[in-house]
Assembly symmetry: C2
Homo-oligomer: 338 residues x 2
């Protein structure tokens, strides 16, 4: 198996964890899952996957462990899992905020084998019942390569590319959290605010009858578990507040143009947004290869990886031979607008 990671465990088997587990199983890995909820463990067993009663039984002897529980539990779970796994066992998580768990790993002396991760996938549902081996297929999957060695990152990236066809996006934890604030956290706030405003409206029933594309699309993630969304926002509070300020300023410009009846100013603001949509829809990439010595000092490799993510790029392949590691990377072909 890719990266030599043949035995895998998933801790926390909700929507994302369950989907990771099923995909790894379907790819032929030896897998086990664990969840604090006995009902969730039974659901896993019903789908033919081993689910011991303790987290220790589930993770002992594994080559890779995915931590997929709620965000606030991750530092504690990390310590518990690290204590009963080998030094060679790669640890990762799928949390939507990376700074806190990343710092916890460093404090716990796990920087060499814990690789913070975040697959970008829909979150309008929850629970193992909605889990699917295809949920993460082809997803952008952020990994945060750390300064204390790239071996774990390489092996995990290989697994994700092979099994999930992931577009691996290497980023530092702070950079991830900055980008995710706008790419995911603020959109969750807006979806919740829009749906909540309708909930309180006297016109609620008529509004729901008219709810087509824009409302239905714009509130989709408001269907997710409120506690999960709250944890996500609290875990990235300062950045989310800063981006909400930026959004508020844009919203004020739109509102003032509308109040003033200024069609030209309104259209100009919407044209800015359309540029982003056009880019998102028609993004093309140019591929390249980069090779680094396998055992050398990793500063150059780390710099390459982080610059790739910052520039909007991703990896589609990682190969390791006796003496070298080779990355196939992809960078946006069009120069950034503005």
């Amino acid at each position: 198996m890719a990266g030599g990671l043949a035995r895998a465990a998933v801790v926390g088997t909700g929507l994302i964890g369950g989907s990771v587990l099923l995909r790894l199983r379907d790819a032929g890995l030896d897998v086990a899952g664990w969840d604090p909820d006995p009902v969730a463990r039974r659901q896993i067993r019903d789908r033919g996957v081993d689910a011991p009663d303790t987290v220790e039984e589930a993770v002992t002897g594994r080559d890779v462990v995915f931590l997929c529980g709620p965000l606030p539990t991750l530092p504690t779970t990390l310590a518990r899992v690290a204590a009963v796994t080998d030094e060679a066992c790669v640890l990762t998580d799928v949390g939507s905020v990376k700074a806190e768990v990343s710092t916890a790993a460093t404090v716990q002396g796990l920087g060499h084998r814990f690789v913070p991760g975040h697959p970008m996938a829909g979150a309008d549902r929850a629970g193992a019942g909605a889990a699917s081996p295809d949920l993460l297929d082809g997803a952008a999957w952020v990994l945060c390569p750390g300064p204390t060695g790239l071996g774990a990152f390489r092996r995990l990236a290989m697994l994700l590319v092979d099994v999930f066809h992931a577009r691996v996006v290497p980023m530092s934890a702070p950079e991830h959290d900055g980008a995710a604030a706008l790419a995911s956290h603020v959109p969750h706030v807006l979806a919740g605010a829009l749906a909540g405003t309708v909930h309180r409206s006297a016109l609620r029933d008529a509004v729901l009858t008219l709810a087509a594309g824009s409302f239905s699309d714009g509130t989709r993630v408001a269907g997710g578990p409120p506690e999960r969304t709250a944890n996500m926002l609290l875990g990235n509070r300062d950045r989310v507040l800063a981006e909400l300020d930026a959004l508020g300023a844009f919203l004020d410009e739109l509102t003032e143009a509308l109040r003033g009846g200024d069609a030209g100013a309104l259209a100009d603001r919407f044209a800015e947004g359309r540029d982003v949509r056009s880019t998102l829809r028609a993004r093309t990439f140019t591929a390249h290869r980069r090779e680094f010595p396998a055992a050398a000092d990793h500063a150059g490799e780390l710099a390459y990886l982080r610059e790739l993510g910052t520039a909007g790029g991703h990896l589609s392949e990682v190969r390791e031979t006796a003496g070298a590691v080779t990355y196939t990377g992809h960078l946006p072909a069009t120069p950034p607008l503005g």
Copy 2:
């Protein structure tokens, strides 16, 4: 053909008008289209539909005409089309705001044969090239039955149900505009503000790489033509500004809960939004029939229709016999929350 409307014309053959035209043609109606843009007329002819060079040629002798041009042009186009069509010819439009065109029709003495309309359909694209006979299949389609006779409304509703499988939502023009402010116009503002904020962000490229469900869904309509969105908002300015105020208040509550680190308050706000999503996803309806004398005073029928729309209901069938009109209506089965 249903309602006796066998010869139809569409004026303005962009995304919505083109889709209406193709669907009517596929349903076997005798159709013609017209657009001020010669390129659009050629596109129609290329798809095998008659497209004369003048609007007068296109609409003369027709039983029903759909006005599908830009919102600000509708009053003028209405007058032009009315002048060359029979008194029996039903006129309707598909604009996203109903008050102005509705008033214009009354002023022009066309209240008995102009039925303001608004099919609720996606608007992230534009142009005849994106038109499809299936775009409006099964859509919620608002019609505003007026006080000056229900004959035109009945015939048009019959056509929409038969040809488009529409869920016809009867509403007064002001009620439509109030509900559409929250169901469509404010979501367009939010989508534009979110996409525009990313456009201006230094993290733009990284954000686009991470853009999965919530961002992609939440900005979809920001891909539409800026002028069309501006016209829509300006046509419903006061209501949109009022709902933006309500949304701003909700957003402030969320922001304050986040700033204060209050997980409980955050989750409570998001729970309000989730209620709306649950209702939207799991809405069930109970069907009923209502019969009215065909030629009687229409006050009771009009009251029934408007109450149906206000309550979140719709029509799935309209039948007219010698002496009576029968509606099959559907009302939400669950009592409104809150």
